[in-house]
């Protein structure tokens, strides 16, 4: 409980108007909170009415809120029809309850004298006929998507008790003809912009834990070199340009250093260096391929792919180096490990029957579940709340991005891209 209140207050200072009276009045949302147990989790039924005045916006803000909630797989959207309902309107709780919605969102958009817009909403518990609070956001017209994502995050956190990820960002690479772009977009794939355009391949973007920088691999100098790109200034520096190839950057959770893969001593092995490129240290010593390092969220372990046992499998070592422990056993191709934010689940790419799909392993029980059903999936990465896994797949010979809920039940293709899309990486929660 204290966790939730802290999270909310951390966000509240951002709001220009403080229409959060309902929040203090209803500190306990246990009555609406559901237990999420992974596979077979119940979906929370919610109705989001059209916002009063949302015609002032280029697109319906309530549509974006609904799409966010639906996509995460934890909500079931109850139809409301086109009739707008403002947050101050009298809510017919009985009717919404009868129609199957346990929660109801009403809101409005109004234009201020200076041309900016005020977006207000409130969340209601239909079973208790209770006002659970809301927000007031002042935005420029073009920020309406951001406002919608913030609303969806607020509703998500209020009802489920953990942070939403709708206002986070994703990075990925688009190949268009001979051109490569490192793009950054909202978590729903909208609002894309290019951080880097190049005639040579770009792979393996990795977000710094604070979300301000991206490490990636570029072949611009005709060989793989690791760069760090600061998003705000668009400035980039070389992190690692040793003899041979430099690739697979992975940030330590504290952002102070990165694990990288170098071939300067022969075949691919894992090294670490500080974020300024200094202090190089070798972490693995094997006669096989060691690549794709990924830190556990507590910084204790480094998971990676190695073929030291004859086929590529996931292993882990203590983050400072040491003896490797094999993690995956089923099948002959298990690569690209990513650990969930709570440290309990490992997502990776597995090949069976000639198909490449995303698998999840419960690290405690070592139980494995394949959660996608396509043939050419790649590059799984967790949403920062662990509920979704973003990955690349192929449709009609073209790379696209998809997200699957961690229980495998809901899949969503991210639309709005042109070109061949690959190498997605989900950014952290906004600080």
């Amino acid at each position: 409980m204290t966790y939730n209140r802290k999270m909310l207050s951390r966000r509240d200072f951002l709001h220009t108007g403080a229409a959060v009276a309902g929040l203090a009045a209803v500190p306990a949302h246990a009555q609406l909170r559901i237990e999420i147990t992974g596979a077979g989790a119940r979906q929370f039924p919610i109705a989001v009415a059209a916002f009063d005045g949302e015609g002032l916006l280029p697109r319906s803000i309530s549509d974006v809120v609904r799409a966010d909630l639906e996509r995460c797989g934890l909500f079931r959207i109850v139809e409301t029809g086109p009739q707008p309902v403002g947050e101050t309107a009298k809510i017919d709780f009985g009717n919404w309850k009868y129609r199957g919605a346990d929660a109801f969102v009403a809101g409005s958009v109004t234009r201020m004298a200076d041309g900016r817009l005020t977006v207000r909403f409130r969340l209601f518990d239909t079973t208790k006929a209770a006002d659970l609070g809301g927000l007031e956001l002042t935005i420029l017209t073009e920020q309406f998507r951001y406002a919608a994502h913030r609303i969806a995050d607020w509703v998500y956190e209020k009802l489920l008790g953990e942070p939403g990820v709708f206002s986070t960002r994703i990075a990925y690479v688009v190949k268009n003809g001979r051109q490569y772009q490192l793009q950054i977009a909202d978590a729903d794939g909208q609002n894309a912009s290019a951080a880097l355009v190049s005639d040579d391949p770009i792979i393996s973007p990795a977000w710094s834990p604070d979300g301000t920088r991206l490490a990636y691999v570029s072949f611009q100098t005709k060989k793989p070199v690791i760069y760090i790109h600061t998003l705000a200034t668009r400035q980039r520096t070389v992190l690692s340009n040793f003899k041979g190839s430099n690739s697979a950057p992975a940030w330590a959770p504290d952002g102070s250093r990165l694990a990288v893969v170098l071939t300067k001593d022969g075949i691919s092995q894992i090294y670490e260096l500080r974020a300024d490129g200094s202090g190089l240290r070798r972490l693995t010593q094997s006669s096989g391929i060691d690549t794709e390092p990924h830190y556990s969220p507590d910084g204790q372990f480094l998971y990676f792919t190695s073929d030291r046992g004859g086929s590529p499998q996931v292993y882990r070592i203590p983050a400072g180096g040491g003896d490797a422990t094999r993690v995956t056993f089923e099948g002959s191709y298990n690569v690209s490990p990513h650990v969930s934010p709570d440290g309990k689940t490992l997502a990776y790419l597995t090949r069976s029957e000639g198909r490449f799909r995303i698998a999840l392993m419960d690290l405690a029980s070592q139980q494995v579940q394949i959660i996608t059903d396509s043939d050419k999936d790649e590059s799984p990465s967790f949403a920062p709340n662990g509920r979704l896994i973003l990955y690349a797949t192929e449709v009609g010979g073209r790379g696209v991005l998809s997200a699957v809920s961690a229980d495998g039940r809901v899949k969503q293709r991210l639309s709005g891209f042109s070109g061949d899309v690959r190498e997605p990486a989900w950014g952290p929660l906004p600080k």
Binding site: S245, V261, T291
Partner: protein, 172 residues
């Protein structure tokens, strides 16, 4: 296959042109062994360029590619004569350098494929090293699955792309 014009002929040729070879500027864009190189046609018998052997379709040295099985980097026996020829060529021409580029097909992880391409290139480098080529003459790099020679999404394309190419200075 095994008939090579090495090494006495080359030694003579090298002695004949005492300065560094000058006709190396024409880059070989396509390393397909089947395609005849156009450079051979105006060949003047007076000046023999050692590098001409690399472009002569009848010479094993014009063969530059080693192909691999899926997720494998061991060199099949059929490529041994070609690797021996290049190794001997490097021994006879210590001023020459090669870049060995490893590649992988598009399936699976890009980073793993980058590492796999590197291991394929290293395998070729090591084999040539055992046959006397000097470490300083060879560099092994990987393009992973990023620069496919065949762009289809089927086995016919994939087998073309599981490959290591031996490229001489001026060819990359």
């Amino acid at each position: 296959m095994r008939k090579l014009l090495l090494p006495s002929l080359l030694a003579a040729a090298l002695a004949a042109c005492s300065t560094a070879p000058t006709e190396t500027t024409a880059p070989v864009a396509d390393t397909k062994p089947t395609k005849p190189a156009e450079v051979t046609k105006p060949a003047e018998p007076v000046k023999v360029d050692p590098l001409a052997a690399l472009k002569d379709p009848n010479n094993i040295l014009s063969h530059r590619s080693v192909y691999f099985d899926f997720d494998k980097y061991d060199i099949r026996v059929i490529y041994q004569p070609m690797i021996e020829a290049h190794a001997k060529f490097l021994v006879s021409n210590p001023q020459l350098k090669v870049l060995i580029q490893g590649n992988a097909d598009e399936r699976g992880s890009r980073e793993y494929n980058l590492a796999l391409g590197q291991k394929r290139a290293e395998a070729v480098k090591k084999a040539m090293g055992l046959l006397g080529a000097k470490d300083a003459q060879m560099e092994a790099v990987s393009l992973g699955e990023e620069k496919p020679k065949a762009t289809g999404h089927d086995e016919a394309s994939w087998e073309q792309n599981r490959r290591a190419d031996v490229l001489y200075s001026g060819e990359y």
